[in-house]
């Protein structure tokens, strides 16, 4: 009998198409709010007030962005936010690295409980420590400076940084540490020459997470700063609402500009970001 290639007509499977269409509709719904802000930011206040927000503009109106970008107050907010975010991100990761190394490679009696205490710090509503911290920094005369915000974010970052670094360091084989010790390395060299270079992905995860959270924070600058030239950008958005009461377009532009750093980080480091979110959530 000759071999006959029988071509079976593929049975039509409606599922992939249905799922795809459903996802498209959901994605459109999800994007609508952001799209609205984007549209508002390139339209005149008049056009918005006349109910013309949701149409595609024939002309892109950039005055709103000019208003935001040339506003010295906005410059000040951005600078303050950077001055808080960068040091607090670096410091919290550095402290997490130190603690994570001990919990992963130098466990001791009671270290598990200590680790659990540190990590559970991640879960508590910050309102619980609001009043005592306000009193502490008030007593130190640091209210209305950026210091308390940096310090508090550093401290509040320790749980997640310790958790992620410990998990990463624990995955580095013990034999590597021991080989380094035998070759004459001390614990600090084990950390800096072996464990850390192998944990660059973890550092990337933490850098994106911490930067985003601290950049986006509202509560701590609200509590610790009072004068306008010490405010961060998220407070700035709220403050400028008064100045631009009905200037919807300017508000939209400001929101987008304020979110730009975190958006960029998110789009470029999405992989790390998601990894951090899931690791932080699941291993907790």
């Amino acid at each position: 009998m000759a071999d006959v290639a029988v071509s079976v007509p593929a049975r039509f499977n409606p599922w992939p198409a249905t799922v795809f269409v459903a996802l498209c509709i959901l994605a459109a719904l999800f994007l609508a709010p952001t799209a609205g802000v984007l549209l508002s930011s390139v339209k005149t206040t008049r056009a918005i007030a006349l109910g013309d927000l949701w149409s595609v503009p024939d002309r892109i109106y950039l005055e709103n962005y000019a208003e935001v970008l040339f506003n010295p107050a906005v410059h000040r907010y951005f600078l303050n936010t950077l001055l808080v975010t960068v040091p607090a991100t670096v410091a919290s990761i550095a402290l997490g690295v130190l603690a994570g190394h001990v919990f992963a490679k130098l466990p001791f009696r009671g270290s598990n409980i200590l680790f659990l205490i540190v990590v559970s710090g991640m879960f508590f509503p910050p309102q619980v420590i609001l009043v005592p911290l306000f009193r502490l920094f008030n007593g130190l005369g640091l209210i209305d400076t950026l210091w308390p915000i940096i310090l508090v974010h550093t401290a509040l970052g320790i749980p997640i940084c310790t958790l992620l670094m410990r998990n990463f360091f624990a995955a580095v084989p013990n034999a590597l540490r021991e080989a380094a010790l035998i070759e004459g390395a001390n614990e600090w060299q084990v950390l800096t020459r072996v464990s850390l270079p192998l944990s660059l992905p973890a550092l990337a995860v933490l850098a994106t997470l911490q930067f985003t959270w601290i950049w986006n924070d509202f509560l701590w600058p609200l509590i610790f700063t009072q004068s306008d030239d010490k405010r961060t950008i998220m407070i700035g958005i709220v403050n400028l609402r008064g100045q631009y009461t009905v200037a919807w377009g300017v508000q939209g532009a400001l929101s987008l500009v304020a979110s730009l750093p975190t958006l960029v980080i998110f789009l470029f480091f999405q992989r790390y970001f998601i990894k951090g979110m899931t690791m932080g959530a699941i291993k907790g």
Partner: protein
Amino acid sequence: METQNRLWRVLLLALPILVFSVLVIWPLLSSFYYSFTNWNGFNRDYEFLGLRNFAKIWTDRLFFNAIVNTTIWMVAALVLPTLTGLFLALLLDRQVRGARIFKTVFYLPICLSAIVVGQIWIWIYQPDWGLLNTFVKLAGNPDFNYAWLARPDSALFAVIVAWSWQQTGLSMVIYLAGLTSIPSEMLEVCEIEGATAWQRIWRVVIPLLTPSTVVVVALSMINSLKGFDILYIMTGGGPFNSSDTLAMHMYNESFKKYLMGYGSAISVVLFLIALTVIGVYFRQLRKVDEIYG
């Protein structure tokens, strides 16, 4: 060896533990202390009130209002993003075309600040030209002009929807991670045993996602206890305290009325609720670990 290890432990842990103790543990403990005082936030001195702040809680109508709102908030903010996130994860788990782009879209709001999210949704709820009312108008009700955020009936739910929009991506990602950890053999068994797609999802996939569900549920509850920024910008707890939650109420009492002692008492209650949630969470996590390990 042990001697050096001991030394390095102390050297490496000293700074992180010091910072954490001074700025997290100590304030946590002194919150309890201040809850027994009438400190006003500015004066050096304060009086010791004993349990009077806690007695006041019992008679504070706004506190009960906040408790009710927090409960509504916690339950709604638990159900909405969890179900949507699960649904999206199930859709995206199959190799849909463009899955990566879809994931990015659904996940995007999580990188926005609560302030910006609030701002965006204020637009949506704007009575005259907001997206929501525009829709209703297009749907055949041209005179519809409902101020969602200005009405006590709808303000809280309006904020919850905005909040869910942001949180959905998180539960989706956790569910997606859970789905990838289901061994493909289990799904192949379903195929061989002749289960329908529906049976497969309800009888196998969702039960196997229990560990993820525990995480998602606990995380949403904890996050909703923390929720403050978005309420602050969207409603400020109003109108008529209709969207006032515990976190909001605590802020108002402490930093608007400068009743920091009383505010601390509220924060102690908040802490105890969080502690309960976390305690249950850790226990469930251990239970789930034993089964699904």
